[in-house]
């Protein structure tokens, strides 16, 4: 059903109203990271729920509270709602113990996602680091499902030690895609490490890229993104061709509760994916 047929105005869909959704599949990514497939209990909500790649939902756990989680499934198939969740705090701890058939609440979708339209017919550089890059996995898979619409895709991922490398099979799978390159870096590798030894920014120097025809998407620790963005713009990538996924304390999702501010922005409303030229002065800062 198209969004025009939705009987609910957007603000009602997304503001305070939480809708129950049942877990219909739970897939293990690593022992403490799982992907949960949710289905709305109310048919009319399921029918009119629509989202853009990179947006997030507030997931609600009865008696515990809410947590913002990116939607990683494909926006063109909006009745499938996948969220990849790592056990890191109070709410995700409870989610980690939930299983197929359990019910949580969903409020959303919120925020601005990845520039998947703008990146069409361009080369794409994905730069990720650290443990959690789930927000960008959905964007990568979106592009591979429409492989012919995008130019060269290069995925760079940096970890401290090889033990921190999650989604190993996904990287191997992506490597097999046409016109695609996957580069991994570890600055504290073991003997069996077959990839680059060093920090991720060094990878920029060993590849050829066309900075005038590239869109870069980044996700990872803020200090890594700050250094990587600086290096890439020095290499000629325009600062408005770089997009960063910003993490802040997002509680309401609608720019009203005040917690997630970055400079003049509310990251839940103006982000979480934000363009580098707008956010650069406030990166790795508290205000």
């Amino acid at each position: 059903m198209s969004s025009e047929a939705c009987p609910y105005p957007a603000d009602v869909m997304r503001s305070n109203q939480i809708h129950p959704a049942r877990i219909i599949e739970k897939r293990e990514e690593t022992p403490d990271i799982h992907t949960y497939r949710l289905q709305f209990e109310e048919k009319e909500i399921a029918d009119c729920f629509a989202f853009a790649g990179g947006q997030f939902n507030m997931l609600y756990i009865f008696g515990v509270g809410e947590v913002p989680i990116s939607i990683v499934s494909d926006p063109e198939n909006a009745h499938i709602l996948d969220h990849t969740i790592r056990v890191v705090g109070r709410v995700t701890e409870v989610i980690g113990r939930m299983d197929v058939g359990d019910v949580m609440g969903v409020r959303g979708p919120f925020g601005k996602g990845w520039p998947l339209e703008e990146a069409k017919s361009k080369d794409v550089l994905v730069v990720t680091g650290g443990l959690g890059c789930a927000p960008v996995v959905g964007a990568i898979e979106y592009m591979f499902r429409r492989r012919e619409q995008y130019g060269h895709i290069r995925i760079m991922h940096g970890v401290k030690t090889p033990r921190d490398l999650l989604y190993r099979e996904r990287f191997d799978q992506w490597r097999k895609e046409p016109n695609t390159e996957v580069l991994l870096a570890s600055d504290q590798p073991e003997k069996t490490w077959r990839y680059h030894t060093g920090v991720i920014t060094e990878l920029f120097d060993i590849v050829e890229m066309d900075p005038t025809n590239t869109i870069c998407m980044m996700c990872g620790p803020e200090i890594m993104m700050k250094l990587a963005a600086r290096r890439l713009t020095q290499r000629g990538l325009p600062d408005n061709a770089l997009y960063l996924s910003m993490e802040r304390n997002m509680q309401c999702g609608i720019g009203l509760c005040g917690h997630c501010q970055i400079g003049p922005y509310f990251s839940c409303r103006d982000g979480p994916v934000m363009r580098y030229d707008l956010i650069a002065p406030f990166l790795a800062r508290d205000v």
Partner: protein, 371 residues
């Protein structure tokens, strides 16, 4: 009756105004002396107003004192603005219940329907009206409208009072928000020794004035009132120089004054609680002991609370230095980008109610100096 006409209300006529409001079904509130200050409380007779009282406000200090016996509105303000009437400190948003349907366990959501009683508030100041307008902009004029604020605002009747004196902590003149109420009221009064001047700012205000059938004020009294309000503005010792904002505060990120103020600030959150524009809030989950039901409450939050900048495993603002910087940079700076005007209306409450007497205006002027 011509719009903008200023009428004269005898001091003894104030009870007629109160009766009119009460008869129309308004729960009528006014600043009443309590706990060494004035607080909004139900009023039935003008005698309950703080006649002959005024206050002295200094950084970290608020004292009620003896004033002019003919005046009942000489206490400029107490810790409460209009915020607590429209964006209440704790609001129940919804109940969530675990219920079984044909043997299948479910969770069902029961949102609270926003409802509000009719409230008339007597004695709101120009800075309070400016703050209310700002909160209205934030909470109802963006992409999402807060139905609780809207319901309470729509049920609120405001009788403003123009300030005939300024507290030492007032700086509304420099923020262009006072001391005269320009808009956003139903009625506005000015208190002279012998009588009140009163004018309507809305249809309901005009109807109330028509019902009271008051004489038109004399030119001499209108001029005396204007002169007194201008004198109150001129008497203000504090001022915020807004030139170069917001960028100047973003640029002052590493100023040593943040360390200095952090050495005094207790992160107690008082400034944000008394601030009439602060809108940060958090939702609290209150499950019943049998876990059959959970209620969701929205409460005021503060950027001085340790959890405000917390994301799993990391606090974006771990110490008071970052929290004070956040408060001022947002209030006086980023707010302009977000809502096209300063977040400060110059009411001075954050100065008076700071337990260690930190003066926002003074800290700001130091942050603007070359280190």
């Amino acid at each position: 009756m011509r719009a903008g006409t200023i009428f004269r209300l005898e001091k003894s006529g104030l009870d007629r105004l109160l009766s009119s409001l009460i008869q129309q079904g308004f729960r009528t509130l006014a600043p009443i002396e309590r706990d060494g200050t004035v607080m909004w409380d139900v009023i039935e007779s003008a005698a309950a107003l703080p006649w002959g009282r005024r206050e002295s406000q200094q950084p970290g200090c608020y004292r009620l004192e003896k004033g002019d016996a003919n005046r009942c509105f000489d206490v400029v303000n107490g810790p409460q603005s209009l915020k607590s009437l429209t964006f209440v400190s704790r609001e129940k948003l919804s109940s969530v219940r675990r219920e079984a349907d044909a043997g299948v366990s479910k969770i069902n959501f029961y949102p609270v329907r926003p409802e509000a009683e009719k409230i008339a508030v007597l004695g709101a100041r120009a800075c309070d009206l400016a703050a209310l307008a700002m909160q209205e902009k934030i909470l109802t004029q963006g992409e999402y409208a807060d139905p609780f604020f809207t319901a309470r605002r729509d049920s609120l009747l405001i009788v403003a009072v123009n300030c005939m004196r300024s507290a030492d902590t007032c700086f509304c003149a420099s923020m262009d928000t006072g001391p005269k109420a320009i808009s956003g009221f139903d009625l506005a009064m000015t208190e002279l020794d012998a009588a009140f001047l009163i004018e309507a700012g809305s249809e309901i205000g005009s109807a109330i004035l028509a019902e009271l059938s008051l004489p038109v004020a004399e030119v001499g009294e209108i001029e005396a009132a204007a002169a007194a309000i201008a004198a109150a503005a001129a008497s203000q010792k504090r001022a915020i120089d807004q030139h170069g904002l917001p960028q100047a505060l973003f640029d002052a990120h590493n100023h040593p004054q943040w360390d200095d103020v952090a050495g005094r600030c207790l992160s107690c959150t008082n400034c944000t609680m008394v601030c009439p524009t602060c809108f940060c809030h958090a939702v609290e989950e209150v499950p019943s002991l049998d876990r059959g039901e959970s209620e969701r409450f929205r409460s005021w939050d503060s950027c001085f609370s340790p959890e405000h900048g917390y994301i799993h495993g990391k606090n974006m603002r771990p110490t008071t230095r970052e929290r004070y910087r956040m408060w001022m940079t947002h209030k006086l700076g980023a707010w302009i980008d977000q809502f096209d005007a300063s977040g400060c209306v110059g009411c001075g409450r954050c100065i008076s109610w700071c337990p260690v007497g930190i003066d926002l205006v003074e800290e700001y002027s130091k942050v603007r100096e070359e280190p």
